[in-house]
């Protein structure tokens, strides 16, 4: 099955990669192994790995995986590094709640644009340079924290550091050059989840560093500035490692990649059109804003919240806040797994229900978190909220690949941007003004999550149904082929450009759930899950 290389959207192929169920490896008869290649892992004809060995560092495939997710992790660490130190920073810079809130919004807004640009950069320079350029050029912005002396400077620096979150794109793109598309789902899901953990790890790391630096003798208002050097050094170290140890392709040849990428096989305007005219795209943009978006917002406010509300020490608040982000290690893959499991029995309807349940529960626990008056209950509510929200993120990307085959890349990109936009919006509305306390803000955010998850009931696939409606009875419309072929006009169909979509349609029949008589996953590739 030849992939259309470098067509618009292919840079994001495998971002979610849920064409098949998650699998650790691809069995040989389905994708033939290239036995002439001398790699540590079995590879296919493009020399992409067919096996995902998490704890290996073998060059180039697994090494790329680790370089990639750690770079993304580092950028999460630096983007949210200020959050656990806000109690100190707000006194040093004389910030008001409005200043803190605005800076939080700024920290997630920058990457809305940088993620869009990064796709193009990866296409032009390759993911290795895309990643290295971004991570090295944002290192100065992290070091800039030592210059900040007022609210304006603080906001500007956090905005610039936020650009680094575009490493998400280079990370996923790079994975798709190294791993076969049949296992790319698990690989990318793991990389994304482990990268997101950085938002939790930073809540642990920064207060710890601050404590150590203070013990060595620095005053508080200097110690936090010194602490920022560590994320800065991590940027530089990872940048150098990516440049020296990484390679763009399994064969290490960048120019070959550029030669293949010269001809864009699909028209960008068409791909964009089909993405934005599909109403499901926008529903998921909204939904992701209230799963990933609230996760990012909470990363920004939770440490300060625990510090102020329960009078904890800075590093205690940091430890508690860290558990929120660290839950990504398992929660996000769990969401994907739950979606897969539901799909096995109930098809796409199961996936939609799973998403709705997980995200709504997350919202309910968020309401509870704001209401909790005791520390133990607050921690419990926070952990449950984190699992709900992060699993919902995983479950969202269990559905996205099925919205469109032609425009998967752009829809994934728009959804991702929606996550950041949702984060900026919730921080602006609930955590910037002094009209209500942070606790009330959290509860109201929870209520908004519940409301904004309701539109998932409107997502209807004629071939599979929706949460409350069965599939269409119309003989023509109720086929997967009709749905996916409708993204191509007659002229394109005549030229046979829609063949890829038809193949995908055939494979997607698994989304009918138990109604499918024949199993679609090949008998000897076991869908294993993290």
């Amino acid at each position: 099955m030849a992939e259309i290389e470098q067509s618009p959207g292919s840079s994001m192929h495998g971002v979610t990669g849920r064409e098949q169920s998650f699998a650790f490896s691809v069995a040989s008869p389905i994708v033939p192994t290239d036995t002439t290649a001398k790699f540590a892992l079995p590879v296919d004809s493009e020399h992409k790995a067919k096996v995902f060995k998490i704890f290996s560092f073998a060059n180039p495939h697994m090494r790329t995986f680790h370089l990639s997710w750690i770079s993304f992790f580092t950028c999460f660490v630096s983007t949210f590094a200020a959050a656990p130190l806000v109690p100190i920073i707000r006194d040093n810079l004389n910030l008001t709640k409005r200043d803190i809130g605005n800076a939080g919004v700024a920290s997630v807004s920058g990457s809305i644009f940088s993620r869009l640009v990064m796709g193009a950069v990866c296409d032009l320079l390759g993911p290795r340079y895309g990643c290295a350029f971004l991570i090295m050029l944002t290192a100065p912005t992290v070091f800039c924290m030592s210059f900040v002396s007022d609210a304006g400077g603080y906001l500007a620096v956090r905005f610039m550091i936020g650009f680094s979150l575009a490493t998400f794109v280079s990370c996923q793109y790079w994975m798709s050059t190294m791993f076969n598309s049949k296992i790319i789902g698990l690989v990318n899901g793991t990389a994304a989840g482990w990268g997101n953990m950085g938002g939790g790890a930073t809540q642990l790391i920064m207060p710890l560093l601050y404590d150590v630096i203070r013990r060595v003798g620095a005053t508080p208002f200097t110690a936090w500035r010194i602490a920022f050097f560590i994320p800065g050094w991590l940027h530089v170290i990872m940048g150098i490692m990516v440049l020296t140890l990484g390679q763009d392709l399994p064969d290490g040849n960048l120019s070959a990649l550029q030669k293949k990428g010269d001809v864009a096989k699909d028209k960008f305007s068409k791909v964009l059109w089909y993405a934005i005219t599909n109403y499901r795209t926008w529903i998921f943009v909204l939904l992701y804003g209230y799963s990933m978006g609230v996760e990012l917002s909470t990363d920004n406010v939770i440490a300060e919240y625990f510090y102020d509300r329960f009078d904890l020490k800075l590093h205690t608040a940091g430890i508690i806040a860290a558990t929120f982000g660290m839950a990504n290690l398992l929660a996000r893959p769990f969401g994907g797994y739950a979606s897969d499991l539901a799909a096995r029995y109930f098809g796409m309807r199961g996936r939609l229900w799973t998403l709705w349940i997980l995200q709504t529960l997350g919202g309910v626990f968020c309401i509870w978190l704001g209401r909790a008056n005791s520390l133990t209950i607050a921690i419990l509510a926070m952990i449950l909220f984190s699992v709900g929200a992060q699993a919902a993120c995983g479950a969202t990307f269990g559905i996205i690949p099925f919205i469109s085959r032609r425009s998967l890349g752009i829809i994934s990109g728009l959804t991702g941007a929606g996550g950041n936009f949702g984060s900026g919006l919730t921080q602006l509305v609930f955590f910037t003004s002094s009209t209500f306390s942070t606790a009330t803000g959290l509860s109201m955010m929870g209520a908004m999550i519940v409301c904004c998850t309701l539109p998932v009931t409107l997502v209807h696939f004629p071939q599979w149904g929706s949460m409350f409606l069965p599939p269409s009875k119309d003989m023509k419309k109720s086929t997967e082929e009709f749905y996916y072929a409708s993204e191509w006009d007659e002229d394109e169909k005549q030229r046979g450009l829609h063949q890829q979509s038809l193949k995908f349609a055939e494979n997607s029949r698994s989304e009918r759930g138990k109604r499918v008589a024949s199993a679609l996953t090949p008998p000897d590739s076991t869908p294993a899950h993290v």
Binding site: D91, K97, L137, P140, G232, V236, L254, D308, S437
Partner: protein, 208 residues
């Protein structure tokens, strides 16, 4: 964590929680305290003090015009630096709350002394971790159970008169700035260096 350890952790935290809850039994309200202490300090109204540099002298003692025996319960005096309403606007972490256990008005301790009938003085250098803002000084009198029983402050009841400003240190240092510039330059230059070197290597190998 295995279930057993997890269960014990939960039990432990619940126990800790209940113990902490027990100590909250005595709730002291600021409005219940009587203003019996006279507190004065050596600053002028609106004076700006530099943190880490300037000093002020604080004097406190019982208001002599009160009846004898008012101070029978006073054991310790704690003098604190407190935020004025101006510095509390839009900053909920400095909020004034009647319940003294939750009150965040006075966050910096100047000095703690055993109570003495006669006036006491203390010279205090403004610490380097005091943020910029407008302040007044308040002294609390504690009884032998370490519970507040009385207070005195340099300003009026509305906290609008006789306030002073503190100008905090920036926390910035020339050495930090220089280090920051050096590392940033290193990052950018090493990136460009690698890029150019690789392009050159690619050109050379193509020419071969």
């Amino acid at each position: 964590m295995e279930p057993k350890r997890y269960g014990i952790t939960i039990l432990g935290s619940l126990l800790l929680f209940f113990c902490m809850a027990a100590t909250c039994y005595g709730i002291v309200l600021f409005s219940s305290l009587s203003r019996t202490l006279e507190v004065t300090a050596s600053f002028k109204q609106g004076q700006v003090l530099k943190a880490g540099v300037d000093k002020i002298t604080v004097t406190w003692g019982l208001n002599q015009s009160l009846a004898a025996g008012t101070d029978s319960a006073y054991k310790t005096i704690k003098v604190k630096l407190c935020y004025s309403p101006v510095s509390q606007v839009d900053r909920a972490w400095r909020k004034t709350v009647d319940n003294l256990a939750k009150d965040k008005t006075c966050q910096f301790k100047i000095v703690s002394r055993p109570y003495d009938k006669w006036n006491q003085t203390f010279e205090w250098k403004v610490e380097r971790d005091v943020p910029s803002g407008t302040y007044f000084i308040r002294a609390y009198a504690y009884n032998s159970d370490d519970i507040e029983v009385a207070y005195g402050q340099t300003t009026d009841a509305k906290k609008t008169t006789n306030l002073f400003d503190v100008q905090a240190i920036t926390g910035r240092h020339a050495s930090l700035d220089i280090a920051s510039v050096c590392f940033s330059a290193f990052a950018v230059l090493s990136l460009l260096g690698f890029f150019i070197a690789e392009k050159r290597r690619a050109k050379l190998s193509e020419q071969k």
